[in-house]
Amino acid sequence: MSHHKEEIRIGVYICHCGHNIAGTVDVTGIAEYASRLPNVVISKDYKYMCSDPGQVLIGQDIAEHKLNRIVVSSCSPLLHEKTFRDALVKGGLNPFFLQMVNIRENVSWVHTDTDDANLKARDLVRAAVHRVAYQKELTKKKVPVNPDVLIVGGGIAGISAALTMADAGKKVFLVEKEPTIGGHMALFDKTFPTLDCAACILTPKMSSVKKHPNITLWSYSEVSEVSGFVGNYKVKVTRKPRYVIEELCVGCYACVDECIFKEGKFPDEFNLGMSKRKPVYLPFPQATPLVAVIDDKTCIHFKTGKCQQSCAKACDRNAIDFNQQPEVKEIEVGTVILTTGFKAFDARRLPYYGYGKFPNVFTSLEVERMVNASGPTEGHVVLKDGSKPKSVGIVHCVGSRDEKTNKWCSRVCCMYSLKLAHLIKEHTGAEVYNFYIDMRTPGKGYEEFYDKLLREDVHFIRGRVAEVSDWATTSDEEGKLIMRVEDTMVGMVRRIPVDMVVLSVGLEPRDDAQDIRKLFNISCSTEGFFLEKHPKLAPVDTFTDGVFIAGAAQGPRDIPDSVAQAGAAAAQALALIDSGHVELEPNTAYITDTLCSGCKSCLNICPYKAIAFDDEKRKSVINEALCKGCGTCVASCPSGAIRQNLFEDEEIFSEIRGLFVESI
């Protein structure tokens, strides 16, 4: 290994993290051990290294003991590397003279045998002490941040984030997969706990989006390609053909009225299939943009080519264009906010609740549409035969808190079940039964709403419903749906006959969440929702800089929380944009000319085409701007000519050596 020109003077700091580390690891013992390692000038343990006094301690020691390398042994570098790098800078050292040792997530939190944990901690600290000696001074490259932002998903979270960003003067591209923005919230009639009308609070926001000079709204569109990096993303958006020219259409319904189909014939997506629409349609009267769509899978013109095209004739603005093709828009943005929302649990997955088998078993979303005045039943809660139900059973936790389906609590179902109980009672006067496991009503005014329901003559039965059947055993049960449940309050199994069953379905990750995750290079947590960088400290950040998340795409949440999170994501994006530039991690690869043999084996290895060949010099050349710092070329260079900043060979080799060398 090479000689150091300067004298290496290392300071080692072992963090207690309160009891988090000190409870398992002998922090004073490790600090004492580290003090005897080569080049270590000073070694200390401290209660909270990340706290202000902890950081000041490092700075003081740098000055007092002329330290030029620092090892901080605490939590994961993914959490606090930046904190301690900043502490080095404050102390007058280059930030890259820091090496962190993860003795919390990788040691104290995962091991119970204290002897083994201490041995491991000692090994890791020793490895870091060996490594840090080889670390070198680096500078972060600054790149400008494009102030434009892409928001994917036009539900309430996306709408809120878009308006905040646009009001702050940023140019926003809002991409929505469906023909209209509004998301799930547009389906609802009233929102809990205030029972204010969803449309009254949502639709003005939707039209603000449409009218805002800073927002470009692309509905019926999907992101198809993403490249680049924080501050400088290049994105391709594919606009699906709606066969109606958006700029010309005014949403007058003339085409819909004149369609060759006199009545709706195809399941209306917006009403969850409970009503029918024509091949040319508008999702709902307040759709934004208010532009018709022609569904090419059902339109006679596209199926047979033999339609008289009465819709086109009816349009006095000549807005219908059967020759429309998918259009790819290329944009450049600096930041991205993903607000792609959730999918409601498919109740067919639990056959014992009879959804899809018994016509009067509904999902909560279907009932939401029914109670909505603009829904398929014009606000009437009715059975399939059109009559009013006299008794309704609401099953909580369908596809939530269930080992067989989803383990998580979907957070919104208790509250919306209470809301539906109230609305159903109001609309029909029926007996309403709520079958719950636990009532979960945390939130401002939520518990009070539950309290109100308790006094509204709604029945509450604690127990998970075992089965919904039509198997009557008494004359009372004849013609009814029988809900079999263990009432855990009274400790007996009950059979409750009802006319209508409502399944309060939980929230799941969307089917395309994985595709979106891959497009934007972010991660999902175990259940498939987007993974935040840190659950508490960075709840709207992702591990990909410049990509933020908000709303139910990150986990089940209600409207107030989604809006709050959207605001947080917008603020994070704005902070990045207004700082004007980002500093890139200096982990790029570089080539030592004298060692390069010109074998070209690195050229095809690089996924970013960052390596070119200089024919004159017969050497490879790395374009630093394109290099993302994976280090794959470094490992593949047969001459050892390619090296990687921050992950130099000798740094890693000394770390390996340090792990196993029995120095003391």
């Binding site: 993914l78 091991h111 083994d116 490895a127 175990t526 970013y608 794959t632």
Partner: protein, 154 residues
Amino acid sequence: MSDNQINKQAIPANWKPRIAAFFCNWCTYTASDLAGVSRLKYPATIRVIRIMCSGRLDPQFVTDAFAEGADAVLIGGCHPGDCHYANGNYKCLRRVHLLKKVLKQMGLEEERLRLEWISASEGKRLAEVVSEMSEAILKLGPCKVKQVVEHYEK
């Protein structure tokens, strides 16, 4: 007497394996953090070295780890198709295939080198892999490469 028996006799009392682990920053290292945050428990056998991508894994890291005294080497990367850098994990896979052949010729048991795809969400999987591997290496006993290297260096 089979080799196995010789090895068994050679396992010192209270010996515990030490496994050098090369984890990519984006998936497996994050999974190790998740295992921590979730307070999952696994044996204190692995010593993690963080690299940005499993594609950065120089085969020499592995041979060097054995030469320095590792009893086994675990490499963790993103699942196929999920690599943060498009396809570094495939490059790693190629190298590991070759490495396995080389190590076998050197007389090393196959179990001593393991490549696993562990995503950022698979903290549980990480704990399982480490537990499994620790158990397997515990049965094999200490790796003798270091002794051999030292013998030749003398």
